[in-house]
C-alpha cells in the first residue's frame, strides 16, 4: 500500500479554517523556518481511506487465534472501554482539587484494595506507566530499604536465566549489578546455585512465577527463604500472575514487592493499543517508600491525597495512566473474586489442553503439567528436517493465526511458546491444534512449502538480517 506521503498533493488539506476575526500578527523573521516542513497534504477522504487500509493490515485478538506466549493476548472486554470513556473520567484535569475528583480517587482506592487482596501486598502505587517501569520502581524501593538501614554493600540483584529481558535491564537501570541464576533441569530455579549466589552483597531476587517456561516453581517458599536469610528482598514480576490470580498470592509466597501488568492479567489493551499500566505493590516497611500520591480516607469519609515521608519520590507525572486503571477495575468488578479465579484456571486448562494435543508431534521443553503457557522445543525437528521454529511460526500466519512467541525463553534454542489464554473456546483450540500438527508433519513431507511461507499475507518473509544490519527508518521524497 502507499505511504501517506505518497498520497500527498501540494496544497490539499483536511481543514477549512473560519475567517480570521482577530488581528493578524506576524512573527519576527528570526523565529520562522526557511523551508516548509515536508508533511503530507491530503484530503479528509484520502486520510480516512489511508487509515482504513492500514487497519485492514492489522491482526488482533478480534481477528482470530493469537497464542503469543508470555504476552497474554486475551480478549479485552468492551465494557472496559465504555467505563473508561465516561465523561466523568475523560474530562478530568490532573490538577483539579481533590474534592472535585472524589470518583476518580475512589477508582484508585478500590483498585488498590482489590489488587492488594489479590497479591497479598499492603499498599499499591499506580504511577508506573507499564510493567518494566514497575520493575524499575520496585527495585528503587528495594534500594531505599537497604540504604535506610545503612546496608550499602547490597549491590547485586539475582535474576534466573529464564527471566524476561526486562528484569536484568531494570536492575541495571536502577544501579544494581545483575547475577544470573541458572535453571534446574525441571525448569525451576537451581536451589544450590541460588544458595551459592545469595550473600551479604545480595540486594534482592527478581522472579516470575510461573516462569517463562510456564512452570510454577514448587520450591518457591524455599527460594524466598534463601534470599531472606541472606538479607535480601524478593521481587515478584507479575508478568504471569494471570496463571494464578485468585488461586495463589505472591505475598504468601514470601515476596515483598510486586508489579502487575494490567494488560496481561486484567485485560487492558496491549502495546500499540495501550498505553500501559504497571501498578507496584509493597508489603510492610517497603510500602513506606512507594512513589507519588496515595489515596487515603479521611475521618469524614472523603478521600485525600497523601505523600509518604520516606517516598522514593515521583517516577511519573500525576497519577500514572489513570484511564487504563479504570479499565482494569471494570474487569475486576465484572468478574469478581470467583470470576478471576475461574479465568486463571481456564487459562491453565486451555494451555494444557493444547499442550497434550501437540506433545505427540513435538518435544515440549518441560515435563508434566504446565501453567498458562508451554514451550515447544523444535531442536530435534530442525536437526532432522531443517525446519525451524521460524518456519512453523511463519506457516501459521498462512492459516489465519498469529504466530506463537519464537526463540524465547533463550534457554530453549528452537522455542515456540504457546499461550492460548482463557478467552479461547475448545473449538478454536481444536482447530489450532489440527493446523499446527499438520504443519509439524509437513516438516518431513513438504519442507519446501514451510520454508517459503507465508504466501497469503500482505508481506511474505522480510529479510530480517538485512533489516537489522541496514535499517531504513525514515522516508525521503525521491
Amino acid at each position: 500500500m502507499k505511504l501517506i506521503f505518497e498520497r500527498s498533493v501540494p496544497g490539499r488539506s483536511t481543514t477549512i479554517f473560519p475567517e480570521c476575526d482577530v488581528p493578524e500578527i506576524n512573527l519576527p523573521e528570526s523565529f520562522l523556518r526557511a523551508d516548509k516542513p515536508d508533511l503530507p497534504e491530503v484530503s479528509e477522504t484520502d486520510l480516512s481511506r489511508h487509515y482504513q487500509e492500514l487497519s485492514k493490515q492489522v491482526y488482533g485478538v478480534c481477528d482470530g487465534f493469537y497464542p503469543l506466549g508470555s504476552c497474554t493476548m486475551k480478549y479485552n472486554p468492551s465494557v472496559n472501554e465504555e467505563a473508561a470513556a465516561l465523561p466523568g473520567f475523560t474530562g478530568l484535569h490532573p490538577l483539579q482539587p481533590a474534592e472535585t475528583v472524589q470518583g476518580a480517587m475512589e477508582v484508585l482506592r478500590l483498585s488498590e484494595k482489590y489488587l492488594c487482596e489479590l497479591t497479598g501486598m499492603d499498599e499499591m502505587t499506580f504511577e508506573p506507566a507499564a510493567g518494566a517501569h514497575g520493575e524499575f520502581t520496585g527495585l528503587l524501593l528495594i534500594k531505599k530499604y537497604h540504604e535506610l538501614r545503612g546496608d550499602v554493600a547490597r549491590t547485586k540483584i539475582l535474576v534466573p536465566d529464564s527471566a524476561h529481558g526486562t528484569n536484568p535491564a531494570s536492575a541495571s537501570m536502577a544501579g544494581f549489578e545483575v547475577v544470573n541464576i541458572p535453571s534446574a533441569p525441571d525448569g525451576g530455579v537451581d536451589l544450590e546455585a541460588l544458595a551459592a549466589a545469595a550473600g551479604p552483597d545480595t540486594a534482592g531476587l527478581m522472579l516470575t512465577n510461573p516462569n517463562t517456561l510456564g512452570i510454577f516453581d514448587r520450591n518457591i517458599l524455599k527460594i524466598t527463604e534463601i534470599v531472606h536469610n541472606a538479607g535480601g528482598l524478593c521481587y515478584y514480576d507479575g508478568a504471569n500472575l494471570n496463571a494464578i490470580v485468585g488461586n495463589a498470592r505472591p505475598g504468601d509466597m514470601g515476596f515483598d514487592v510486586v508489579h502487575l501488568n494490567m494488560h496481561k492479567t486484567f485485560s487492558t489493551p496491549h502495546g500499540g493499543g495501550g498505553p500501559g499500566a504497571g501498578a507496584v505493590g509493597a508489603k510492610g516497611d517497603m510500602a513506606k517508600y512507594l512513589p507519588g500520591e496515595h489515596v487515603v480516607e479521611k475521618a469524614d469519609g472523603t478521600l485525600a491525597f497523601e505523600r509518604k515521608e520516606q517516598s522514593i519520590g515521583r517516577i511519573r507525572s500525576y497519577y500514572g495512566n489513570f484511564l487504563v486503571q479504570v479499565k482494569a477495575l471494570a474487569y475486576i468488578l465484572m468478574l469478581g473474586g470467583d470470576g478471576l479465579r475461574d479465568a486463571s484456571r481456564n487459562a491453565v486448562l486451555n494451555a494444557n489442553y493444547l499442550r497434550v494435543q501437540l506433545a505427540p508431534y513435538c518435544k515440549v521443553a518441560t515435563e508434566g503439567i504446565c501453567m498458562h503457557e508451554f514451550v515447544l522445543d523444535l531442536a530435534e525437528i530442525k536437526a532432522r528436517t531443517g525446519i525451524s521454529a521460524m518456519d512453523i511460526a511463519k506457516s501459521m500466519l498462512d492459516h489465519g493465526m498469529h504466530a506463537p512467541t519464537m526463540y524465547f525463553p533463550l534457554i530453549v534454542h528452537e522455542a515456540l511458546m504457546f499461550e492460548p489464554t482463557e478467552t479461547e473456546s475448545k473449538e478454536t483450540l481444536d482447530e489450532a491444534a489440527a493446523i499446527v500438527i499438520e504443519l509439524l508433519k509437513m516438516a518431513d513431507t513438504d519442507p519446501e512449502t514451510l520454508h517459503n511461507a507465508p504466501c497469503h499475507t500482505p508481506i511474505s518473509r522480510p529479510d530480517e538480517v538485512k533489516a537489522a544490519r541496514t535499517p531504513v527508518l525514515t522516508w525521503k521524497r525521491a
Binding site: 526463540y407 533463550l410 534454542h413 530480517e464 538480517v465 537489522a468 544490519r469
Partner: protein, 126 residues
Amino acid sequence: MTFPKNLKYTDTHEWLEELEDGHVRIGITDYAQDQLGDLVYVNLPEEGDEVVEYESFADVESIKAISEVISPVNGTVVAINEKLTDTPEAINDTPYEAWFIEVSDAEVPDDLMDADEYQAFVESKE
C-alpha cells in the same frame, strides 16, 4: 563445524589464539556463531580498556538475541578488529579469522580446553 588445533577454547564458546609477540587474540567459536544465527551488530571495547577473566568484554547481537562475550584472560586491550563493526557477518562466515580483540600482558589460564576437548564438549551439548 571446525575446531582449529592451534586455538584454546572456553566453556562459554570463545576461542583464544596465542600470538608470537605474546599477545592473545579472542573471538567466538564456530559453534557459538551457529547457535546465535546471523549476527547483525557487535559492540567492542576500546583500545586501552582492561578485560577481566570471566567477565563480559563485548556484546554480539543476532536477529534472535543479544549475548555477552566473556574474556578468558585478564589483560589490556591493545587492538580491536574494527572491521567487525561494519561487517558482523564476517563472524558467521569465518569465525576463527574474525577476532574481536587483541590483549597484552595476558596470562593464559591452564584450564582452557584444547581443540579435541572442546569438540567433545560441544558434541555433548548436541
